[in-house]
């Protein structure tokens, strides 16, 4: 029982990331009909928003403290971040430590800009071209974004710590009344999961309960008819692209403390997220989320020591294996609608 619970918990954080990226991918595919291979790069850009904000907040100036000396006897140079000098040491320190959650505010405008530029500048011209062309051009874009980040931030992963309040782990089992010491779980992963749940709920509510969302859903079902009713559906779809970019970006921001961001993290997630989308069913939002969590949890179950002892290497290939089986037995994925990209 404990072991099962532990594996489910372990799968949740990766599953959340898969679900968020897959949700964005499906939003783009469902609205614009474009297969976006650059979506992983958006995730990566989000993570680097967190890094950038952290760097900006830690910008400091150097003063010479004549009272103290370093080990050579010279006056000691003291580095003080600007934030600390403006807001006082305590608040300033707190701002720097909470840079990752603060990056959410920073990432939203950045991702909106990136999303709008990408859609208006590039994707717009690819609506009518074959899917292969869309894959190729967005693949090229992903390489370009990746290399730009590599140029500015280098090739090494950049550790981005979570706020100290969430830094450690806690005994999750004890709080459920199980034996203490069985299920130790880092706080930040729980935060990530809750965050993902909130974002997913927000996107679904937005689509379900607003007029804008209603129009978008109508457009996803039948684009032409909505156009005939005098609604500029393209404009709304462009906004949906920006929203998908925000979702990917925020997924990246919050993922930064779990895995230090590096320039190719997007590609690593992209491949798996595509598999997730396909398993969930192209164009089905609920399917993407469900498949994301399902595959994340499945992956963590497959990496249990007992399972690996039985079927060596299964933890490495389980997701792909599931994808192959699903694609061959249920062509439209778990929750795909009939008639959407079935062949």
């Amino acid at each position: 029982m404990d072991a099962i619970l532990l594996q489910i918990l372990n799968g949740l954080d990766k599953g959340s990331a898969y679900a968020l990226i897959a949700l964005g991918l499906t939003l783009i595919f469902g609205t614009l009909g474009v297969v976006n291979f650059a979506h992983g790069a958006l995730f990566m850009l989000g993570a680097f928003c967190a890094v950038t904000l952290n760097n900006i907040l830690s910008l400091s100036f150097t003063t010479i403290d004549p009272d103290r000396t370093d080990f050579l006897g010279n006056p000691l140079k003291v580095e003080t971040p600007y934030v600390e000098s403006w807001f006082g040491p305590e608040i300033g320190m707190a701002i720097i430590q909470w840079s990752v959650p603060l990056s959410i505010l920073f990432a939203i405008p950045v991702m909106v800009m990136v999303g709008l530029i990408m859609e208006r500048g590039l994707i717009k011209h690819f609506y009518r071209r074959p899917h292969a062309d869309q894959i190729l051009v967005t693949f090229g874009l992903a390489i370009v974004l990746q290399e730009i980040i590599k140029y500015f931030f280098g090739a090494n992963p950049i550790p981005t710590p979570a706020p100290p309040a969430f830094a450690g782990s806690f005994d999750f089992g004890a709080s459920l009344g199980l034996e203490p010491g069985q299920i130790i779980y880092p706080y930040w992963r729980l935060v990530y999961f809750s965050f993902a749940a909130v974002i997913i709920a927000a996107v679904f509510c937005f689509l379900r309960y607003t007029t804008f969302g209603m129009v978008v859903r109508a457009g996803m079902a039948d684009r032409e008819t909505v156009g005939f009713l005098g609604i500029n559906i393209n404009k709304r779809f462009t906004i949906m692209f920006a929203i998908a970019a925000i979702v990917a970006g925020l997924a990246g921001v919050m993922y930064a403390p779990i895995n230090s961001p590096n320039y190719h993290m997007g590609m690593d997630f992209l491949v798996l997220s595509f598999v997730v989308v396909v398993v969930g069913g192209m164009g089905s939002l609920a399917g993407a989320v469900l498949a994301g969590f399902l595959l994340g949890i499945l992956e963590s179950f497959a990496s249990m020591a007992q399972v690996v002892a039985l079927l060596p290497g299964i933890n490495q290939i389980i997701i792909y294996l599931v994808a192959i089986i699903v694609l061959l037995t249920r062509p439209r994925g778990l929750m795909g609608r009939k008639g959407v990209m079935e062949d």
């Binding site: 297969v35 590039l122 011209h125 074959p130 899917h131 292969a132 062309d133 894959i135 190729l136 051009v137 693949f139 090229g140 874009l141 390489i143 370009v144 990746q146 290399e147 730009i148 590599k150 140029y151 590609m267 491949v271 595509f274 598999v275 396909v278 192209m282 060596p312 290497g313 490495q316 290939i317 792909y320 294996l321 994808a323 192959i324 694609l327 061959l328 062509p331 990209m341 062949d343």
Partner: protein, 406 residues
């Protein structure tokens, strides 16, 4: 000649000429001159040109003709490499059994993968091939370590049996050879300031590539090739007319898998080791880049694309800041620094950025790749000449357009 029409014969001869005289063509600058770093005529790189050329030709038979975009072709190359190294470990250091075995094993593997993946088309096909390639990559790293030697990569050992050949010569592993001609043997020719290297291994690869290229031409021009092109243009209509297109795409998939295996085998023949990173999906992405950049669906495009990317990867990436400073030394300091600041992100280690941008531009503006660009230039030139002719009362532009449309 050789069952080809005149145009194809000319193309074949151009390829033969270029591959056989590559040591001259790729070394246009004298040794020791400023521009010598742009010389690509060293054996290692020339071998890579032709090997990746073969890989891309094979990929093009699948993608260029049928339009099925595989994102997992590197798996066949990797599997072929492992098979090749095992033949060298077990049988002999002669490269022939190694190369043949790579082709056979890669072919069998592609039969398995193709049988499953070709049940779906479009993006699903891409995802399925990607999934298979990633699976092989992960397995080669983890469970199959006894066969693949995991992260270290499969290498030759001193105590390998090599039942058909000598196992070791004076305490070291004998070199890979073709009936006694060692693959690493080279002949240096110095003419004035120029130095040219003729490498046995390169010429083996070159001959193999010419044969592979010839086979590709024959496939393109055959009824079978026509059928594949029909699959690309409209598979549904083809099925409605009562033709089953599956066997054709399947055959194309296996053929391109065998080509990839051949490339893997040649890699092993040149340098007897194999690693799992050859199967990673980025490697599959690279061959996609080559084919598209050169021109998918054209005969010569993929070879051109492969050469282009490998040249940039090896030559362009070596240009560092110091070299740039040397180039722009004549300019005033301020302009020099600005120029270098602008150029630097795109060269040296940043060459991937240039590649990505170029690739995007090609996909957006030149869907036919470099070959289409050349074609357009030729047409432009021809049209200009025709209008001149028209003024002189010559041939009509219509006939010329018809010729261009061919």
């Amino acid at each position: 000649m050789l069952g080809l029409n005149k145009k194809d014969t000319t193309l074949l001869f151009i390829v033969v000429f270029m591959t056989l005289f590559a040591p001259f063509i790729l070394n246009p600058f004298p040794v020791g001159s400023q521009l010598a770093q742009f010389n690509a005529g060293y054996p290692d790189l020339m071998q890579r040109f032709v090997i990746f050329g073969i890989f891309a030709i094979g990929f093009n038979i699948l993608f260029g003709l049928t339009g099925y975009l595989s994102f997992g072709h590197a798996a066949f190359l990797g599997v072929g490499s492992y098979a090749g190294v095992w033949m060298m470990k077990l049988l002999s250091m002669n490269v022939i059994p190694a190369i043949l075995m790579s082709m056979v094993v890669a072919g069998l593997f592609s039969v398995l993968v193709g049988y499953i993946c070709l049940r779906r088309s479009g993006i699903y096909f891409s995802i399925l091939t990607l999934a298979f390639a990633q699976m092989s990559f992960s397995l080669a790293y983890s469970v199959l370590t006894p066969i693949t030697n995991g992260e270290t990569g499969l290498q030759l050992g001193l105590n390998d049996p090599r039942i058909l050949g000598v196992s070791q010569v004076e305490g070291s592993i004998p070199p890979a050879n073709l009936f006694g001609i060692a693959m690493r043997d080279s002949y240096e020719l110095t003419l004035g300031g120029w130095a040219f290297t003729f490498n046995a291994g390169y010429y083996l690869c070159a001959v193999v590539m010419i044969v592979a290229f010839y086979a590709a031409i024959r496939i393109f021009r055959s009824p079978f090739g026509l059928m594949l092109k029909a699959v690309k243009s409209n598979q549904q209509r083809m099925n409605y007319t009562g033709l089953n297109s599956k066997p054709y795409t399947f055959a194309a998939f296996v053929i391109s898998g065998v080509y990839a295996g051949l490339a893997g085998g040649l890699m092993v023949a040149m340098d007897p080791l194999a690693g799992a990173e050859r199967m990673q999906w980025t490697a599959s992405g690279e061959v996609v880049l080559m084919t598209i950049l050169g021109g998918a669906g054209t005969l010569f495009g993929p070879v051109l694309g492969a050469g282009f990317i490998k040249y940039f990867e090896n030559i362009f990436s070596k240009i560092n800041e110091n070299v740039l400073h040397q180039w722009f030394a004549a300019l005033p300091d301020s302009i020099e620094n600005v120029l270098i600041a602008v150029v630097y992100p795109f060269i040296g280690k940043g060459w991937h950025l240039t590649l990505g941008i170029m690739f995007m531009l090609v996909v957006i503006f030149l869907p036919g790749g470099i070959m289409e660009g050349i074609q357009r230039l030729v047409n432009l030139f021809k049209r200009r000449r025709t209008t001149d002719d028209e003024r002189a009362g010559g041939s009509s532009a219509l006939a010329n357009n018809a010729k261009a449309a061919e």
